[in-house]
């Protein structure tokens, strides 16, 4: 019974805003399908060199009043980064709230525009603790 991982799908309310968010994170569009008949778009976005590990954004043209949502069963998407301080500074400079700052030089959490929790993990060893992250408190939950 062969089985292989394909993607993780998340629904988005505002496609432009969401694509900008994931692009800011470093994901690129790899594939797109627009259905005139179904009035929806599917956009696959993946890290460079990992085109086979995309997220799929599902966008309903006529809106989705249930978004942004929250949930308990779904936890988060996780991405490794080369420098967690640079990544968080770049995100913050572009208006993304760092819900759980990388006080330990190792782990941070942010939220997508639709409230999808995203974990960022430093690749390799943790960085030495540093300001402004060291004394930055948490914001909201993740």
């Amino acid at each position: 019974m062969g089985l292989n991982y394909l993607h993780t799908m998340v629904r988005v309310k505002d496609l432009e805003k969401s694509m900008a968010f994931y692009a800011l994170l470093g994901l690129k569009e790899t594939r797109r399908y627009d259905s005139e008949e179904g009035r929806f778009s599917l956009i696959f976005m993946a890290p460079e060199g990992q085109e086979d590990r995309p997220i799929e954004l599902t966008y309903n043209w006529d809106g989705d009043d249930a978004l942004p949502s929250d949930s308990r069963h779904f936890g988060h998407l996780a991405y490794g980064v080369d420098n967690i301080y640079e990544t968080c500074a770049h995100l913050e400079a572009n208006g993304v709230v760092i819900n759980r700052p990388p006080r330990d030089g190792r782990m941070a959490f942010i939220r997508s525009p639709d409230n999808i929790s995203i974990e960022l993990l430093q690749n390799g060893d943790a960085l030495a603790p540093a300001e402004p992250w060291l004394s930055m408190g948490n914001t909201g939950h993740w």
Copy 2:
């Protein structure tokens, strides 16, 4: 700003039941971390040969009353399969409800014990439509 995909995390209420479900699907445990202090376990499970594309099960030892949950922002996990009829028959024989049967020989949906939606897609071309799937109705939503 290097970034690479790591995993998708889902929370589980009954670890044994959930691990049995994902094992039935064809995922194997690749890594496990038990925290006595935090009273939680993290279990990574992945398809064979795709150990770098795991899901992470988060299990809180003292339970989680918010599970099973539902949500709108999280869509599904997707897996490709070699024979969608065999996979669905195997799952069904083991008590899994096929919420969206593969009437088209191409796509099916099931739910994990915690209500995580899982899409199964036939690898390559769709199979020829066949019973009992062809005349099987949908159950619930996904």
